[in-house]
């Protein structure tokens, strides 16, 4: 859909109770256990943690390396805006988003979204919401480098991802 990422999602009202999300973009490998542990360390009010990890596939042996390009400054800011919307919409106790940039090999983690809440629905929905909008609005681009050494191509955006983000405008919020 032309220009669909430019649709504005309303900026959440300032809510002093909303959790402050943690957002990072970098070339270091993502330590999933450490990130999820950080959501529960030193507290006993968390009843649910949902962690989504997106991994680099080898595409049946075809792919050698996936190269992640991003827009420094905007990538962090845009993920931060999406995370703030999630924190305003669901009663979260913690929210962490980590996204890799640079070369990534099959089997490595590209992205982690981890949400903590008292009850499971908020954590499940917030993590799903984050991923759907991250896919269509966070300025990252994937280029394939192939195992046979040939020049790979840029991964094309999927209409299904636009549809997944669009559905949140119509869904009732649980939690």
């Amino acid at each position: 859909m032309a220009n669909s990422p430019s649709r504005t999602v309303p900026t959440p009202m300032a809510d002093p109770a909303a959790v402050e999300p943690s957002v990072r973009v970098g070339t270091d490998p993502i330590d999933v256990a450490a990130e999820t542990d950080a959501l529960t360390a030193g507290r006993t009010d968390v009843g649910a943690v949902v962690a989504f990890t997106g991994l680099c596939r080898d595409e049946a042996g075809r792919l050698a390396v996936l190269e992640l390009e991003h827009y420094p400054g905007m990538a962090e800011a845009e993920i931060g805006r999406i995370a703030a919307q999630a924190a305003a919409r669901w009663p979260l106790l913690g929210l962490r988003v980590v996204h890799r940039s640079g070369p990534i090999r099959p089997g490595e983690v590209i992205v982690l979204v981890a949400a903590a809440s008292a009850h499971r629905a908020a954590a499940f929905e917030a993590a799903s919401f984050l991923m759907d909008f991250l896919k269509t609005r966070a300025p990252f681009w994937k280029k394939e480098h192939l195992a046979d050494g040939s020049e790979g191509s840029w991964v094309e955006a999927r209409d299904a991802d636009d549809a997944a983000a669009e559905k949140w405008a119509h869904l009732r919020t649980e939690g």
């Binding site: 032309a2 220009n3 990422p5 430019s6 504005t8 997106g54 992640l68 390009e69 991003h70 827009y71 400054g73 905007m74 990538a75 800011a77 845009e78 996204h99 590209i110 992205v111 991923m131 991250l134 896919k135 269509t136 609005r137 966070a138 300025p139 990252f140 681009w141 994937k142 280029k143 840029w154 991964v155 094309e156 955006a157």
Partner: protein, 83 residues
């Protein structure tokens, strides 16, 4: 104004970024895309289908009708494929 390019838009233009003096009649982000197409064959190739080009003005997503007066940085890039 600085214009920055990413992914295959960057490759086709042949530049990561450039500083441009935009004439007064170029008022919107969409006007800027049309104006940039005239700069080189690489620009024309990168921006030949303006409907699929995404735009950010000062690091926030923008529509083609957004005014660019006062903008410091406009980014042009393909649909995003992160996550």
């Amino acid at each position: 104004m600085r214009v920055v390019y990413f992914a295959w838009v960057r490759e086709r233009v042949g530049l990561e970024e450039e500083d441009v003096e935009v004439p007064a009649e170029v008022k919107t982000a969409g006007d800027l895309v049309s104006w940039l197409r005239e700069r080189s064959p690489g620009h024309a190739f990168a921006l030949e289908e303006p409907d699929i080009i995404r735009i950010a003005v000062d690091r926030v997503h923008a529509q083609p009708d957004q005014p660019i007066a006062g903008a410091r940085e406009v980014a042009l890039f393909p649909p995003m494929t992160g996550g």
